[in-house]
């Protein structure tokens, strides 16, 4: 944990040095990339997201549902709070994945409370750095980094790359969902995406990295601010399928 804090402090110092230290062309370049860096966002925006989904494979299945609130502070920085509930169904004769060695437990329920900051690294690229703790059947402290980045935004088929990496300090496993999608069509009402994605996890009692991968299809309903995403493929736990949704509300202040 100490190393994580140290790295965060070093990153903060480097950020300050980058902003305050350079002069001349470097400062101009900074101004070009991040104009009005220290100004408050105008208008400020409060976003609320509801999200959920389900996942299944022959070994286990899970459902998750949650809510996330974002409050912009500057054009490039925001504060984030997220509450997520998880239900985990474990197949017969399989061990408790939360506390390995605890024996089989058919169902596990836990909640995850997280808070952190959101960085608008560049137009179309957002990075969330969150920390939190689980309650219920899991007692893990977690740290999470989520990135979503759109490329070629001014083209017919922009590409999105995203990852969501979580490290749990209870079983010392790091898991990451990594997806890449391309916009295949955009209309007045819908945005259709297609791509590939998967997950990878390693650490703790997992010796070699394990994971899965498959194809991904998504649709976003503009009028409702509602997105649906489906993925199916194959991996360590055999074939799998997953479905996720997100609903967004904007509240300009």
């Amino acid at each position: 944990m100490a190393s994580v804090v140290q790295r965060a402090v070093i990153a903060g110092v480097l950020l300050v040095v980058c902003v305050v230290g350079p002069s001349g062309s470097a400062r101009a370049q900074w101004q070009n990339l991040y104009p009005g860096f220290f100004q408050l966002a105008k208008p400020e925006v409060f976003d609320v997201f509801a999200f959920g989904g389900g996942y299944g494979n022959p070994k286990y299945g899970d459902a998750q549902e949650g809510i996330q609130a974002d409050q912009s502070v500057t054009p490039y920085l925001g504060m984030v709070g997220r509450l997520t509930g998880y239900q985990l169904w474990v197949g017969d004769n399989y061990d408790n994945p939360l506390v390995p060695g605890n024996g089989h437990q058919e169902r596990l329920n836990f909640g995850r409370i997280e808070g952190g900051v959101e960085f608008a690294v560049y137009p179309g690229t957002r990075l969330f750095v969150l920390g939190g703790h689980d309650v219920g059947d899991s007692d893990a402290t977690v740290i999470e980094g989520d990135l979503s980045s759109w490329w070629m935004t001014h083209s017919r088929h922009p590409i999105n790359f995203s990852f969501s990496a979580v490290h749990g300090y209870q079983n010392h496993v790091t898991s990451a969902e990594i997806d890449s999608r391309v916009v295949i069509a955009s209309t007045e009402d819908y945005l259709f995406t297609a791509g590939v994605g998967g997950a990878i996890y390693q650490g703790g009692e997992i010796g070699n990295a394990q994971g899965q991968g498959g194809v991904d299809l998504g649709v976003y309903f503009r009028k409702w601010g509602f997105g649906l995403d489906a993925q199916s493929g194959y991996g360590t736990a055999d074939g799998y399928g997953q479905l996720g949704f997100i609903k967004q509300w904007d509240f300009p202040e």
Binding site: G53, Q64, P97, T153, H154, S155, L191, R222
Partner: protein
């Protein structure tokens, strides 16, 4: 003193000259041409007409050369004769520069967007193969072949990646096609179809159209695929 035909002609010319000299002053009043009517209104606005400022209200007619400005937390919709609507967001200034109507149908309407955002729902975008509606901002020209689109113009605001540029025209098209050019380089046209948007930064040509909302806050749903525990169950 001469009283012949020459002096009469000269006198006539004086009268005509004086009349012509006064004509521009009389034009706004004598030839006031209705363009539309305010059919939705909330908050406060200013209607500049013939050098005077009025406070418009629901039902106020809008005439050629009127300049309509919405104030903070205000909005207004102007419905044109063919039921096309122009919806002004807050802090928006729109000038009705040209309106040609022949036989009851609109041939050409030209409006100027000086600041803010206007959402247009155009019922008659084309007439005889020619576009009938056009919006000019201080740096862009938006020719309409479509029916539902939004144009906004902002200045004194910097955006990442456009060094030194502080004025932008954004065009979001929901239905139909809109042709966007920069007034500084009108030969470079970008067609924006429904579901896409573009931006005109300062004197640069319009950017290639991209899907609406990309780069905004809409992001793919949070991941659900990785085991929530970070570890898949293993056989006992």
């Amino acid at each position: 003193m001469t009283t012949g035909p020459a002096s009469k002609v000269a006198g006539l010319w004086v009268v005509i000259s004086v009349a012509l000299a006064w004509l521009p002053n009389l034009t706004p009043v004598a030839w006031a041409q209705p363009v539309g009517t305010i059919t939705q209104f909330s908050g406060a606005a200013e209607l500049h007409r013939s050098g005077q400022i009025q406070n418009p209200a629901l039902g106020t007619p809008v005439e050629l050369h009127d300049q309509l400005t919405t104030l903070t937390d205000s909005s207004a919709t102007v419905t044109l004769a063919d039921n096309s609507t122009l919806s002004l967001s807050q802090l928006t200034t729109l000038v009705f520069d040209e309106n040609i109507v022949t036989g009851g149908s609109r041939q050409k309407t030209l409006v100027g967007l000086l600041r803010g955002a206007v959402n247009c729902l155009i019922t008659t975008a084309m007439s005889g193969g020619n576009p009938t509606f056009q919006i000019n901002t201080p740096n862009a020209q938006v020719g309409v072949r479509g029916t539902d689109f939004e144009t906004s113009y902002i200045e004194s605001t910097a955006r990442p990646g456009y060094e030194g540029c502080q004025r932008y025209t954004d065009v979001v098209v929901r239905k139909g096609v809109v042709v966007v050019t920069n007034l500084a380089s009108p030969s470079v046209e970008v067609d924006v179809s429904g579901g896409y948007e573009t931006t005109v930064p300062c004197f640069l040509p319009p950017l290639t159209a991209g899907p609406i909302g990309i780069g905004g806050v809409a992001a793919p749903p949070p991941a659900v695929g990785a085991p929530p525990s970070g570890r898949a169950p293993v056989k006992q």
